[in-house]
Symmetry: C2
Subunit: 311 residues, 2 copies
């Protein structure tokens, strides 16, 4: 009878699941809705039922279940809080184990498992210690040191979206702080830069390709690639903040490589080039010239990383 | 026959050594000069001879040797460079093992073992994950995650003295960078602040207790403790940079506690108070209210941490 492993990535709207072979091959993926009502009490039972029906369909044995959730998780698999799921403190690892009878269960933060997934099968392949930064609506981070997730004492390790990179900032971040990396390098952050960019003697918004159109991260990077000076200046500012922030991360953990993912990273190599340049400007000599890679797994990074914890 | 363990802390001028019991009790400590001539080829043989003569004097067996050196060291015990010792790449662990016949040998960076020592027997007792920052002539750092040193991929983990905390800085740090934590919080850094401190509408240097005397870190903290407004403002600026820098470290590794050591920390609780206040201002909510402690072992932190690696 075949041994299967399941990777689960729990989001606020849907739960992504993947069935993997013992060799770590993704055999099938599917989704179920996340039922966040009643403090999210149905979420884990729904997942367990879905896994069981997939197991019956395939006729095999479930040898391990790995799961990522959008909140801080201790190394013992206790979720401390997931506002998006309606959860307070939930002993998710124990609950999944007792509902399934599977002993080999691991739970971690979703940004952390995405980093683990990218290192295993994506942009971080071949490395053992990486920092992954996910540039989406917000900015998330995951740090892997010698193959293991840096969880932190209260599950908040790798929260690099809220690194402070600008002591002069006057506007507040969603977290309540000021000058967070997320305020400049998320999809909304770079649009914010574009709307208020003032570069003495530099290009003007009204003369750029962004004039009169809806400003999006994509429009900015596309403009920069086609030589629009204003967009180029905005991308420089984005890269300056990201390079500066990642230099500070390197001063703390000295990784082998950085992997950049999330929607914004679809702009491609232009992001690596500008970030690497400012990174090398700011980091101490011994930490210069680290590898910078684009993420490759997209939305599947989570199920890959989740299953990697148990396979 | 007694089993002994030896902790060694190799500095640019002297080598500090400690003989420990199996229970981790420091039985005796002594020093030998560091002979840095001829690319430091005599350093390890000198240490080994000194350990052997101590062993003969005590009549016992050496069961383990731990050593700290002032430079980056890989997890395999290979020193990548120690300018202060005249060393390039040195397989220190293998060399000590083969010179002594002791298999249980470990080598690490001196700032990292000081952190380990403080967690074991000093200000970090009772914690399992700490960040230690040493405020001396320079600023060093050591990070312990779940009892293990965060070495980094090239031995540069925990180099928090060169975190960038001020993008506006125009003067250069010793490392060549600008705006490093060390430029504001080392013994020389705080004196630098005091000499150039300009606070619109604030106190003036010429009206303070620092006027006409040699400005030292000690004089500044003593002045602040006795209510000198100018010194208080300088200490605020020091604390603002240190709190800001440590907030960024926490965003990356989420430790349980911070331990502050080095000569500057002799000023005492005043340092913890001001740093903690700015730390909580800058760090995200989930990371607020970490523990802040003063280091307790002084110059012995190194030999304690060194021996902890092998005991």
């Amino acid at each position: 009878m075949a041994n299967f492993y399941v990777g689960v990535d729990v989001g606020g709207t849907t739960v992504k699941m993947g069935l993997f072979s013992e060799e770590g091959e993704l055999l099938e993926k599917w989704e179920i809705p996340t039922r966040t009502e009643e403090s999210g009490v149905n979420i884990l039972p729904d997942i367990v039922k879905s896994i069981e029906s997939k197991r019956q369909e395939k006729g095999g044995h479930i040898s391990g279940i790995g799961m990522g959730v959008p909140g801080p998780v201790t190394d013992d698999g206790v979720v401390l809080k997931c506002a998006n799921l309606g959860w307070g403190v939930v002993s998710a690892k124990n609950e999944v184990s007792s509902l399934t009878g599977v002993g080999n269960v691991a739970i971690a933060n979703d940004a952390n498992i995405a980093a683990l997934g990218e290192m295993w099968k994506g942009g971080g392949r071949g490395f053992n210690s990486i920092v992954m930064v996910t540039l989406g609506t917000g900015v998330g981070g995951g740090i892997i040191i010698r193959g293991k997730i840096l969880t932190g004492s209260m599950g908040a390790g790798g929260e690099i979206g809220h690194l402070k990179v600008n002591p002069q900032e006057t506007e507040s971040c969603n977290c309540g702080g000021k000058g967070c990396l997320e305020q400049y390098t998320s999809a909304t952050g770079i649009v914010r830069i574009a709307k208020k960019h003032l570069h003495p003697g530099g290009a003007k918004l009204e003369d750029s390709c962004l004039a009169g159109v809806e400003i999006t991260a994509k429009a900015i990077f596309d403009g920069a690639k086609s030589g629009d000076t204003y967009c180029e200046e905005v991308v420089e500012e984005f890269g300056r903040y990201l390079g500066y922030g990642l230099a500070n991360v390197a001063q703390v953990v000295d990784p082998e490589a950085f992997v950049i993912g999330g929607g914004v990273s679809r702009a491609g190599e232009i992001i690596l080039d500008v970030t690497k340049r400012y990174y090398n400007d700011h980091v101490m000599f011994a930490l210069q010239n680290k590898e910078f890679r684009l993420a490759e797994l997209g939305n599947d990074a989570g199920i890959y990383g989740a299953v990697k914890m148990v396979i």
